[in-house]
Point group: C2
Chain length 96, copies 2
Amino acid sequence: MGLDEKRTALIFKAFCDENRIKILHLLKSGEKCACKLLEEMNITQPTLSHHMKILCDSGIVIGRKEGKWMHYSISSDGIDKALCYLEKLKNIGEER
Amino acid sequence: MGLDEKRTALIFKAFCDENRIKILHLLKSGEKCACKLLEEMNITQPTLSHHMKILCDSGIVIGRKEGKWMHYSISSDGIDKALCYLEKLKNIGEER
DNA sequence: ACCTCACATTGATAAATGTCTATATGTATT
DNA sequence: AATACATATAGACATTTATCAATGTGAGGT
């Protein structure tokens, strides 16, 4: 299948799981340590790690390592890519 | 878990599958009949029907019945909901 | 009334995903 | 170097999802 389609789907995987939405919500207030996120979520540490990988792979979240800690934050560039895709869809929708 | 998170995830389910991205791409050129979509995709009719249901449930696509035919088109309102969510995420991301 | 066509639904199956426990890795601290 | 801590990875398992073949539904057409 098309590579573009695969790439686009990958971006939006960030948003199609409840727990990841909750994580993104927590990151709204700024960069947060994984341990802090873990406190607020009702999941185990490996599960959090799994979701953080998906969020980073999608480009929506950025990870920054500092000593033993991982700090995660929302990537404006990542959000922009998603926004850009949606804008293009919308422009067409208005033609009808 | 939170209802809001579930609802948001539902919206973005529209975009996290390759075939659905391809369908949305086909709908960019305007409203299309299911049979027309089926021609362009490499999937069976029930599979298409399944994806169209997910797209409609997410609010991103609207279906219009006309005789035996179903016509699908992209919903500007649906896209707006998704855009709105992303905008809110982005505003925060810029603070850092 | 019957048939055909377009689409939806059902049921089965394989693949992908989310979750956990257990373990590994890497970074400080003593 | 030994230990403790934060996170990642591996492996196992259950749930969800994507897919197809078969069947149901409903709207025209003959």
